[in-house]
Amino acid sequence: MSSDLRSFTEVDRLLHEPARLMIVTLLAVVAEADFLFLLNQTGLTKGNLSAHLSKLEAAGYVEINKSYRGKIPITLLSLTPTGMDAFNTYRKQLRGIIARISD
């Protein structure tokens, strides 16, 4: 296996999926966001977004907290330190791959 191909396989597959990458990128720049914000920004369906969030939560990348604002239920999502590390590593790897392709 060439080193270029190997570098592709080393990329975090969980984050490499576009919808999950978008979710993690959005959460990386905020302290927390609610489900509705992610739904609007990603354009995903409720079920689809829910499924992606469950996968990210299972990997320990995203923390999900359910609470109430007044009588309205609210689901708050934030990136965990593990998620932030994974995202930063992914960005570095991606930059490295792009730089190698450009050379």
Partner: protein
């Protein structure tokens, strides 16, 4: 791909301006400042006018933006978050906060120096042009960094109001009164139009939405 990541990363920043409430808040403060200058011109030029201007400026420049920020945050809770979602921005670290404070002090000192230079070597009528140019550049940077097309228009408008006021050659404080009032009205109109468009294009989310959420 990096471009996509950058665009996604900019979205939360852009979201702060999505409803026009920030412009309405800023426009109201600037308009009040303009009206304050205009009213201060009507007061007899004695000791009272000096005290009125100094105390009023401190209240308007320091107190009103804080009040406006609180009101905007409350309105966002009622209008924006139920429609398009809630986000909490990251709190700045100590280093970033110190840098922001130093930058604010630097900008304030630079403005003081510019005002002094204009007052002594030029004519005060050019002050709005200088402020319009500086503020216009700042708005242009925000427009470019966050990706807000209407802010390009606001930057142009800010500069235009500065130039127009300069050309009118009014005496102080009417010069500042016309400049800040014009600027405030422009920002209020921009904010109101954005808010109306936002309200027309969104509806409060169904509370049963939570049923689809994980957890």
């Amino acid at each position: 791909m990096e471009d996509h990541l950058q665009d996604w990363a900019n979205r939360p920043q852009r979201y702060w301006y999505v409803d026009g409430l920030v412009e309405i808040g800023a426009g109201a403060v600037i308009l009040i400042l303009g009206l304050f200058f205009a009213i201060s011109g009507l007061i007899k030029d004695d000791g009272f006018r000096g005290a009125f201007t100094t105390i009023g400026q401190i209240i308007i420049v320091i107190g009103l933006p804080i009040l406006a920020r609180v009101i905007v945050a409350r309105l966002k809770e009622r209008i924006t978050y139920p429609r398009t979602g809630y986000i909490a921005y990251r709190r700045q670290g100590l280093g970033q906060r110190i840098r922001a404070i130093l930058l604010t002090i630097g900008v304030a000192a630079a403005i003081g120096v510019v005002v002094y230079l204009i007052e002594n070597w030029m004519n005060l009528r050019w002050l709005p042009v200088v402020i319009g140019l500086s503020a216009g550049l700042l708005i242009l940077i925000i427009a470019f960094r966050v990706g807000l097309p209407r802010y390009y228009l606001l930057a142009g408008y800010t500069l235009a109001i500065g130039v127009i006021t300069g050309l009118l050659s009014l005496a102080e404080p009417y010069n500042s009164g016309v400049f800040f009032s014009g600027l405030g009205v422009g920002w209020l109109v921009s904010g109101a139009v954005t808010l109306v468009r936002y309200l027309r294009s969104t509806t409060p989310a169904d509370q049963s939405l939570d049923a689809g959420r994980p957890g």
